[in-house]
């Protein structure tokens, strides 16, 4: 198992824009550098990228939820 953490505090988004589907769904393959979500901090959107490869297990926080730096956003299984 690997955790993907938020690099900054802010608001987490699972989707690239409100009318799109989530970046990843359970069972998707995740490569190193894949974007799994966005964190909006002070009007800036930061892409959250996976530092590990694996199978997407699911998001750990809801779409549009406030998050802290270091908080787990999603988990991967190998």
């Amino acid at each position: 198992m690997a955790d993907i953490q938020s690099p900054v505090p802010g608001t987490f988004y699972q989707k690239p824009s409100p009318d799109k589907v989530a970046y990843k769904s359970k069972g998707d393959a995740v490569a190193v550098g894949d974007t799994i979500g966005l964190v909006e901090v002070m009007k800036t959107f930061i892409e959250v990228k996976s530092e590990a490869a694996g199978i997407f297990e699911g998001y750990a926080v809801e779409d549009e939820a406030p998050v802290n730096a270091g908080q787990v956003l999603a988990t991967l299984s190998r």
Partner: protein
């Protein structure tokens, strides 16, 4: 209809600034705040406060309905919109007017007119202000293009009339180049937009950004001289000065008087700013747009003229005449403002909303720090990253830079990451010290690694 109860429809440092000005005028202040801003400094400073909605701006600071309800509930007789958010939103100004409440700014109709680029350009031309010269309409043949280019003056920018995204844009220095480049631009325009129509405009290379502060009372208007804001990153001003040392006396007079002429021609009420591009090579300036609100960098104009712009805009919008005439406004010395943002300049300016543990700011003659910070304050993640502005004033530009350096070296904001290191590196840069820069200067300077270099040197000392 003197203002008695002023509602502040904004947040952050400008709310603090407005409350200070209103208090000095004996006006009761009412701060509107979002759920994320319940503990911000202006809520603590204001006489009254009211929650206007959830953290997200669209649900609070941009929610006209919620703000209008709060204005009614608190019996405010005036509203100050600050900058950003709804400050230049005609629908908001119309709603405020319809409710019989005073808007601290020009009329909704003026906001609407000057907010429309084409209308603003027309108003400027009518007031005799130069705009970037260009073709009046579409050009279809190369001979027409050459003829118009001769009247507009080289270098010219050739653009696709149907344009966008940089497609079909070429810059020609002379007719020979134009005759080579215009067909290329035309071919590219046809390929991209299915329309070979062209448009010509004078290319202003490496322009400086110069703006004029004006004040109007609906009949009369005055200026508080110019500011230069050429140091920009991603079209955001980073460092601003008053005055613009690149201007000679005659150009400065013409520029400032042109701004007053436009303000009078639209019966402007409140504080406003006319923005210009200045071509140093030809000593020409061109109007680009008007901002119908107070601006972030207003303090540097206050420092060199002694005019309290925020108080004056509240007074005139409350129905008073301007308290000053033009001959009572004098330039005195040089002022610089730098924006302190909650960003890490060494991490590509990543926003960093920390918690301020300890704050220490030097005080003294000619030093001002406009901000909304206090020890223990957690910067919210929902809004822009401006924390405050360090403003210095000294007899000369060189002395102002020296003073700025000493303030930036002494200021301590423990727990935050800020752009202070960027400003120190700029203050130590030879080009900045000489005033040799333009709007396209800062980004390449950053890309060339100058900031990292400055940091390394600092570390070695």
């Amino acid at each position: 209809m003197t203002i008695k109860r002023l509602f502040i429809a904004n947040r952050g440092e400008i709310s603090v600034r407005i409350i200070k000005a209103a208090k000095e005028l004996g006006i009761t202040t009412i701060q509107g705040f979002s759920e994320a801003d319940a503990d911000m400094l202006s809520v603590r400073m204001s006489d009254e406060s009211i929650c206007i909605g959830p953290a997200k701006s669209k649900d609070s600071y941009l929610n006209i309905g919620a703000i209008m309800s709060a204005i009614k509930e608190t019996c405010a007789d005036a509203v100050h919109p600050g900058y950003g958010f709804l400050s230049e939103n005609p629908a908001f100004a119309y709603a405020v007017e319809a409710a019989g409440v005073t808007f601290v700014g020009p009329s909704a109709a003026t906001i609407e007119r000057m907010g429309d680029k084409v209308e603003a350009r027309k108003a400027a031309e009518a007031a005799g202000i130069p705009v970037v010269p260009g073709s009046k309409g579409r050009i279809t043949t190369i001979d027409d293009a050459a003829e118009i280019a001769n009247s507009v003056g080289y270098p010219v920018m050739i653009k696709a009339a149907a344009g966008g995204g940089g497609k079909g844009i070429r810059v020609a220095d002379n007719e020979e180049e134009l005759r080579t480049l215009a067909p290329q631009a035309q071919a590219e325009a046809v390929a991209a937009f299915g329309d070979g129509g062209l448009y010509l405009e004078r290319a202003v290379r490496s322009p400086r950004h110069i703006e004029v502060q004006i004040l109007g009372d609906g009949t009369d208007a005055i200026h508080c001289y110019e500011r230069e804001c050429s140091l920009q990153r991603r079209r955001q001003k980073v460092w601003e000065e008053a005055g613009a040392v690149c201007l000679d006396k005659e150009t400065r007079e013409t520029l400032c008087n042109s701004a007053v002429a436009l303000a009078k021609s639209v019966n402007y009420c409140g504080a406003g700013t006319l923005e210009y591009l200045y071509d140093e090579a030809t000593n020409e300036f061109f109007f680009i747009e008007m901002n119908t609100r107070i601006q972030v960098e207003h303090p540097i104009s206050e420092m060199i003229t002694g005019v309290d712009l925020v108080q004056e805009m509240i007074r005139v919008c409350g129905g008073a005449k301007l308290s000053l005439t033009q001959d009572q406004i004098h330039r005195n010395g040089h002022a610089i403002e730098v924006r302190i943002n909650a960003e890490d300049p060494l991490m590509r300016f990543m926003p960093w909303p920390g918690k301020l543990e300890k704050m220490s700011v030097p005080r003294g003659e000619g030093i001002r720090f406009d901000h909304f910070l206090y020890e223990g304050y957690q910067i919210p993640t929902f809004y822009d990253s401006l924390l405050g502005k360090v403003i210095v004033h000294a007899p000369t530009r060189a002395e102002a830079i020296t003073k700025l350096k000493s303030v930036l070296e002494l200021i301590k904001l423990k727990g935050l990451k800020t752009t202070i290191s960027l400003h120190l590196a700029l203050a130590n840069d030879a080009s900045v010290q000489e005033g040799a820069f333009h709007t396209q200067w800062l980004e390449p300077w950053l890309e060339a690694g100058n900031l990292t270099l400055a940091q390394t040197k600092r570390g070695e000392r």
